[in-house]
Symmetry: C2
Subunit: 157 residues, 2 copies
DNA sequence: AAATTAGTTCGTTTTGTTCCGAACTAGACG
DNA sequence: CGTCTAGTTCGGAACAAAACGAACTAATTT
């Protein structure tokens, strides 16, 4: 099976971003990318291995992780022992969901820093009292934006 | 120099989040946190070392990195060889700027994925043509939001 | 029942990260 | 000029993460 150079280049490139975006191991990110660039039919274990060039063990482990994270699932065909792996959602959608939760923590963090500084370094808050508020508003707006976007995407199935 | 337990706890806690948020090494994240929790006067090399308990070499290396990333700078007092290190911006502001740049890449990425899939898997685009558009719109809205927020903060500076 | 296929598990190797101490440099001061 | 102060650079130790191969299991198929 020969895979286009374009596809291979994209797997490297997108994989790299997924790695930090979704906090995946390099191989998991590459598998995920491969699957988002592949047809809805999904790919078998061996096809994935051939394209990416990974060992059976690493492929198995990383597919398992991707499945636990619900990024990937598989189906089977009767009279065929192979599993067909495919993505459950566009990675952008997964990223959005993860972002949404992360924002909760950031909001808390900003609160903590600001209240610490208000007590210990009131001079920082002469005319900057509102920086904390601006940031909190930003984070909240972002959450709203994400929620709306997820909604829109889900309506499209 | 005795530092409150509260401050130390915050350094650990916030540092942890900064690590993944801004992609900093643990020590860099702790130094950064310490400086955001400190007065505008800034801290010397040795003060940082005493509070955090880091070696000269690691402190030097990580301060250098923070300065290259423009998160931190220093000033000097005449007749005093020490440098006084301080944050250049509230970390939220740095984070915002980093986000903004990262979004450029994400937009490009989404375009690439969509155009790849349009060519190779047109069936994915029956009624999902718009998922790519939705995401692109989301990213653009987010950029606008960030730009507006940075603007607001700068007006307060 | 033996052989084949599809995937898993385990122990090891490879690679990368983080931090440190020791030796160094550059500038100010006596 | 020598010495002190403030920081830098380099090599390596300790640990963590990622991927591998070999041996295994479980479910067919012959």
């Amino acid at each position: 099976m020969s895979v286009s150079t374009e596809k291979k280049k994209l797997i490297e490139e997108i994989g790299l971003q997924l790695e930090s975006r979704l906090n995946l191991a390099p191989l998991a990110a590459r598998i995920y990318t491969l699957l988002t660039l592949s047809s809805k039919e999904g790919l078998t274990f061996e096809q994935i291995r051939e394209i990416i060039g990974s060992s059976k063990s690493s492929t198995s482990v990383n597919l398992k992780i991707l499945m636990q994270l619900k990024h990937v699932d598989y189906y089977t065909k009767s009279g065929d022992r192979k599993r067909y792996f495919r993505i459950t959602t566009y990675f952008q959608l997964s990223a959005l969901k993860i972002d949404y939760q992360a924002l909760e923590n950031e909001i808390l963090l900003v609160e903590k820093i600001n209240s610490y500084n208000k007590v210990h370094h009131p001079e920082k808050f002469k005319n900057e009292e509102s920086v904390g508020d601006i940031i909190r508003n930003y984070l909240k707006s972002r959450q709203t934006l994400i929620a709306e976007t997820i909604d829109k995407i889900n309506k499209h199935g």
